[in-house]
């Protein structure tokens, strides 16, 4: 039993952190977010590192690692608040790998794994006109259908770019009919929820770290504001939230590969808790920063807005809680 990262995972984490810190400096994130675009060269670099295929089986062109490793990357991408078409592509990969037949996998997964022919997945279940992050430029779209999902090529779909408050990612409203149906089951979506929960955990951790740094440095009434319990206890509460989100997220990531029966509950818990944590923590971070945290020139609002958008994907926390209650036997 070891509920910590092993050496290889630790290595992935620190490499990712270092890389993202150097590439997604705050002014880069700001520029991309303000212009609502991605940097193709940065995406290419990430593809060269093999990240898009980290959890895809080797036979399908990926690295053959697992959900834990993918969660590590997503957490760090959330931490960096990186504008990059990573998550939607990863979700598409998870869904196709979980419910695609051999032909579908062979056709789409290599491109998703290399990032050369991205996928994009609707981050909702069972709706009609759905929001699909990063739909534009994708080679294949995974859209929800009555039973599981359906693969749609962009030429068969209509999409419209949405103007959402989170501008660190491109969101599209997609409608399509027909398409190539995947097998049934929700495992792919559950795995994607775990990836999303990891991103949310990273966002929350970043907001906490920024707040801690600010509380040490900012002085009011002749002492650092972090010496006031009004501030320090709020930061302690943020830590509490982040840690709960992280525990549930990594448990779900581990369960996805090692204990699949636990995944439905674990994924719902991870998504619900991480959504709430990231929203509460980013709000609290603005409060801890005072006025400056409310300005556009400060970076916190990018985190807050992405936390809000991520929290809505695959439905809000209350929907997951309703399902969790059923899974623990409330009847």
């Amino acid at each position: 039993m070891n509920f910590g990262l092993n050496d290889e995972q630790q290595e992935i984490k620190s490499t990712a952190k270092q890389f993202l810190e150097s590439r997604f400096k705050p002014d880069v994130v700001r520029e991309l977010a303000e212009e609502g675009r991605y940097d193709d060269a940065l995406w290419q670099e990430i593809c060269d590192l093999g990240w898009p295929g980290i959890a895809i089986a080797e036979e399908n062109g990926g690295q053959g690692l697992g959900m834990v490793e993918l969660a590590i990357l997503c957490e760090e991408l959330g931490y960096a608040c990186a504008p990059i078409p990573f998550l939607s592509n990863a979700a598409a990969g998870l869904m196709i790998e979980a419910a695609g037949d051999e032909k579908q996998r062979a056709r789409w997964l290599p491109g998703i794994a290399s990032g050369e022919a991205r996928g994009a997945a609707a981050m909702e279940r069972g709706k009609e006109a759905v929001i699909v992050p990063d739909a534009e430029g994708a080679a294949v779209l995974v859209l929800p259908a009555a039973e599981g999902g359906v693969l749609v090529e962009p030429s068969e779909a209509e999409f419209e770019r949405l103007d959402l408050l989170d501008t660190t990612r491109g969101y599209y409203r997609v409608s399509a009919s027909g398409g190539d149906p995947l097998g049934s089951g929700h495992e792919g979506a559950q795995r994607a929820m775990v990836a999303l929960a990891a991103e949310l955990t990273g966002l929350a951790q970043r907001a906490l770290d920024m707040s801690v740094a600010y509380a040490k440095e900012r002085e009011q009434f002749d002492r650092p504001i972090g010496a006031y319990q009004a501030v320090s206890h709020a930061l302690a509460r943020m830590l509490y939230d982040v840690e709960e989100a992280r525990s549930l997220t990594y448990y779900a990531a581990w369960a996805a590969d090692a204990e699949p029966d636990s995944l439905p509950l674990a994924a719902a818990m991870a998504k619900a808790r991480a959504s709430e944590a990231a929203w509460d923590v980013t709000k609290a971070a603005i409060q801890a920063h005072g006025g400056i945290g409310f300005t556009w020139e400060h970076d916190l609002h990018f985190l807050l807005k992405r936390a809000r958008a991520d929290g809505q994907m695959f439905g809000p926390a209350s929907e997951h809680r309703e399902r969790i209650a059923g899974m623990v036997g409330m009847a």
Binding site: E124, L165, A230, Q287, W296
Partner: protein, 379 residues
């Protein structure tokens, strides 16, 4: 205890109501800030023409001399009728009162009338980047020069600065005394070379506020208010003016928004959602408690003559209710609540400042602890 209005009070309310009905300027034009500003300036002129601009001001200064309760009625009716704010709001509720309370005769002569008529717009220069809650630590410096003072420093969160003629400016005139003591209150002309205004974008994408940079800006001696070195005392009075009487109209605003929220929820067929129902009921209770708390506070102020520290509770309530209300709205909107153009989404983002602006919730709690509950001061 009697919450009904006396016949005089009722007559006043009817007069306000009729006047607002007859003179409501409508929702006003869409458009950029300056279009909006001209609209609000016209509105204030209309108010002033009929004697409503300085409703709280004594008659001798061109106001209506309304009692506290009448002011409350007036502001509540304004909110209920959803008329715009007058253009020179800070001049009316802060600038004028501070000149009347601490200014000399020639200052009253000079400054008051153009406030009422919106000829000269006022802004407030208190906050600085390094001194938010800790006002007394401000660093903007005024140095004595021939015939006046030379001001250098930076102010922030300055609403309306870009269109203001005058800034209520607190600056340090003596660095050698304890920090509360070396401050002076100035009225600084914004139309001069030494003053630069830069818009300050908020997380909503709007620029409701500004940063103001003073670089050897000149303030003549006759624009010192309340005497050199008395700035702290003068500023504190001003801040108390900011609170008084606003509770009741804020409650009307909340109540309007709550009605709109219930309507939106019903339109979307979510009116029977048990969790939304619980949250709406909590908001209703909060909204009513805010309205009633404001009336209690007002009644006590009428009786005792002084505004009590419970204004801090009202400000706290208002901020927390408004944050919950707008968040509930975006929750109910689902993914539509993510859209930048959604009015509720804007309001939700804007509400995050409600627990910071005009006294952070943390500072309000300190005030309540020390001044209402009498707990020992935090050392």
């Amino acid at each position: 205890m009697d919450l009904t209005l006396t016949s005089d009070e009722q007559a006043f309310r009817d007069e306000v109501r009729t006047w607002l009905e007859d003179n409501h300027p409508g929702a006003g034009p869409e458009g950029d800030d300056s279009v909006r500003f001209e609209f609000q300036r016209d509105w204030q002129r209309k108010m002033h023409a009929d004697g409503w601009a300085g409703v709280a001001w004594p008659k001798e200064y061109g106001g209506r001399g309304a009692s506290l309760l009448e002011q409350t009625i007036f502001y509540s009716e304004m909110a209920a009728a959803k008329v715009p704010r007058p253009a020179n709001i800070l001049g009316l509720v802060m600038g004028g009162p501070v000149v009347m309370a601490h200014g000399d005769e020639s200052q009253k002569e000079r400054f008051l009338e153009p406030i009422l008529s919106a000829e000269e717009i006022w802004c407030q220069g208190f906050s600085e980047p390094e001194s938010g809650s800790d006002l007394a630590s401000l660093k903007t410096r005024a140095t004595k020069v021939d015939g006046g003072w030379s001001v250098t420093g930076q102010k922030v969160w300055t609403t309306l600065a870009h269109i203001s003629k005058w800034c209520m400016l607190v600056a340090r005139t003596d660095a050698d005394v304890p920090k509360h003591k070396g401050l002076t209150y100035f009225i600084c002309d914004m139309e001069q070379e030494g003053v630069e205004v830069r818009p300050l974008l908020q997380i909503t994408g709007e620029a409701e506020f500004n940063e103001v940079f003073f670089n050897e800006a000149f303030v003549p001696d006759e624009n010192v208010i309340g005497g050199v070195g008395n700035g702290w005392m003068v500023a504190i009075t001003t801040l108390m003016n900011e609170r008084a009487g606003l509770g009741a109209s804020a409650a009307v605003g909340i109540s309007n928004d709550l009605d709109a929220l219930v309507e939106m929820i019903n339109q979307r067929g979510l009116g029977s959602d048990p969790m939304l129902r619980q949250r709406i009921a909590k908001l209703k209770m909060g909204s009513e408690a805010l309205r009633l708390g404001a009336l209690r506070s007002l009644s006590s102020q009428i009786k005792t003559g002084i505004p009590g520290p419970e204004g801090s509770v009202l400000k706290w309530q208002w901020g927390s209710i408004n944050q919950e209300l707008t968040e509930l709205a975006t929750d109910a909107l689902g993914s539509e609540g993510l859209e930048s153009e959604q009015e509720w989404t804007y309001k939700m983002l804007r509400s995050r400042a409600n627990s910071i602006e005009g006294g952070t919730t943390e500072v309000l709690k300190n005030i309540i602890a020390e001044r209402v509950l009498g707990l020992p001061k935090l050392r």
